[in-house]
């Protein structure tokens, strides 16, 4: 039995880590068509509390936003940030 406890502990630690992993959200953004514009959107999304990373895919018209586990991004918050950046949010989805 003493040999099992370390493995149980490792399993519990793994499950706990997964539960604390960052969350990712995909935003479809309309109106984005040049690199200099992309920085404004990146900056605005990055200013949202809890956001830990922003990656813009210009050709796809998409922004991948990563947030801390305890600060999920809502569609309303994303829409407001995209509008403040001067663009239009067309789609919002939580990514695996």
């Amino acid at each position: 039995m003493n040999r099992v406890w370390p493995y149980i502990g490792l399993l519990l630690a793994t499950l706990a880590t997964d539960a604390m992993a960052d969350q990712r959200f995909g935003l479809a953004v309309d109106g984005l068509a040049c690199p200099f514009c992309a920085y404004g959107l990146e900056k605005r999304l990055g200013d949202i509390p809890g956001v830990t990373g922003v990656a813009i895919e210009l050709e796809a018209g998409r922004a991948i936003v990563t947030t801390a586990d305890d600060r999920p991004l809502t569609e309303a918050t994303a829409r407001a940030a995209v509008r403040d950046a001067g663009f239009t949010l067309r789609g919002f989805a939580s990514l695996p």
Partner: protein, 287 residues
């Protein structure tokens, strides 16, 4: 020669992105984002009896007040040199020109994947911050050679932008009007600017945000009314049409661009200075 001040003003306007080199765009300045632009402009004019060279460092800044509204400021630093052909007299004026401040509002916005259409009116003031009383050993410099107009002015117009991932078109219709200073009234001005930008590199886009290289061609049609002294029109003003080919590199954080503006048509009073060429090099950054 007031055309120089007007041209410096229009050239100091601040496009927000990969955009016209010589005038505004309707593309957004993100709320809370600031943009700075520095342009070096070399302007050469000549007439049978004189030559003028104007070197300008045009500084401009923009700040996003909201997703739709942006505030811009522009200040040219001018170095004007006049050489009289027969007498070899040289006169010179250096210093800051007139400060312009204007707001631009996105009145219409139609966004789609990878493209946008926008129309934005703009309006603002021109403050007579430049000197209009500079002197040299020959006395007070002529009004057109001064770095400032001496008069308050107003500017207004609207700009249209249609942008895709491959190309962009901008059009601007603008007007400038001045008050009077000590009996001197700069003439009003009207201008129609058009710009086309086409992405020549990369030929195909991949992931992320790559830098773009655009080939640019711009057109400017302007009509300047004559300056007035004591209510009487001076021998200034006229209409001109310019064409400007250029190149532009655009990345996430900065833009480097250059253009050369050639006068194709000049309908000016007899004896007036005619534009020879205007060369322009610009750097923009955002933060």
């Amino acid at each position: 020669m007031r055309r120089i001040t007007l041209l410096a003003l229009s050239l100091a306007s601040l496009p927000a992105t990969a955009a016209p080199i010589t005038f505004n765009t309707a593309l957004p300045v993100t709320c809370g984002e600031a943009i700075l632009r520095a342009r070096f402009i070399r302007h050469e004019l000549s007439a049978p009896d004189r030559e003028v060279t104007v070197s300008t460092l045009a500084l401009a800044g923009g700040f996003g007040l909201s997703g739709d509204l942006a505030l811009f400021a522009a200040l040219p630093l001018l170095d004007k040199r006049l050489t009289a052909a027969e007498s070899a007299i040289r006169r010179r004026a250096r210093g800051a020109g007139d400060l312009s401040l204007f707001l631009r509002y996105t009145a219409l916005q139609r966004d789609a994947p990878g493209r946008t259409l926008r129309i934005a009116p703009f309006a603002g003031l021109i403050a007579p911050t430049g000197r209009d009383d500079a002197r040299d050993e020959l006395g007070r410099l002529p009004r057109p050679l001064q770095t400032g107009s001496g008069a308050w002015g107003a500017l207004a117009g609207f700009v249209l932008t249609r942008q895709t991932l491959r190309w962009q078109f901008d059009g601007q219709l603008g007007a400038t009007a001045y008050g009077r200073d000590e009996g001197y009234a700069p003439g009003n001005a009207f201008a129609l600017d058009l710009s086309g930008q086409y992405r020549i590199w990369p030929r195909r886009l991949s992931g992320g945000v790559p830098g773009f290289v655009y080939a640019v061609l711009e057109s400017r049609l302007e009509d300047l009314r004559a300056d007035r002294i004591g209510g009487a029109a001076t021998g200034s003003g006229g209409s001109q049409w310019f064409l400007a080919p250029g190149l532009q590199y655009v990345s996430r954080r900065w833009v480097v661009e250059g253009a050369v503006q050639w006068p194709l048509v000049q309908n000016l009073p007899a004896g007036a200075l005619q534009d020879d060429v205007i060369a322009r090099l610009s750097l923009r950054t955002n933060f």
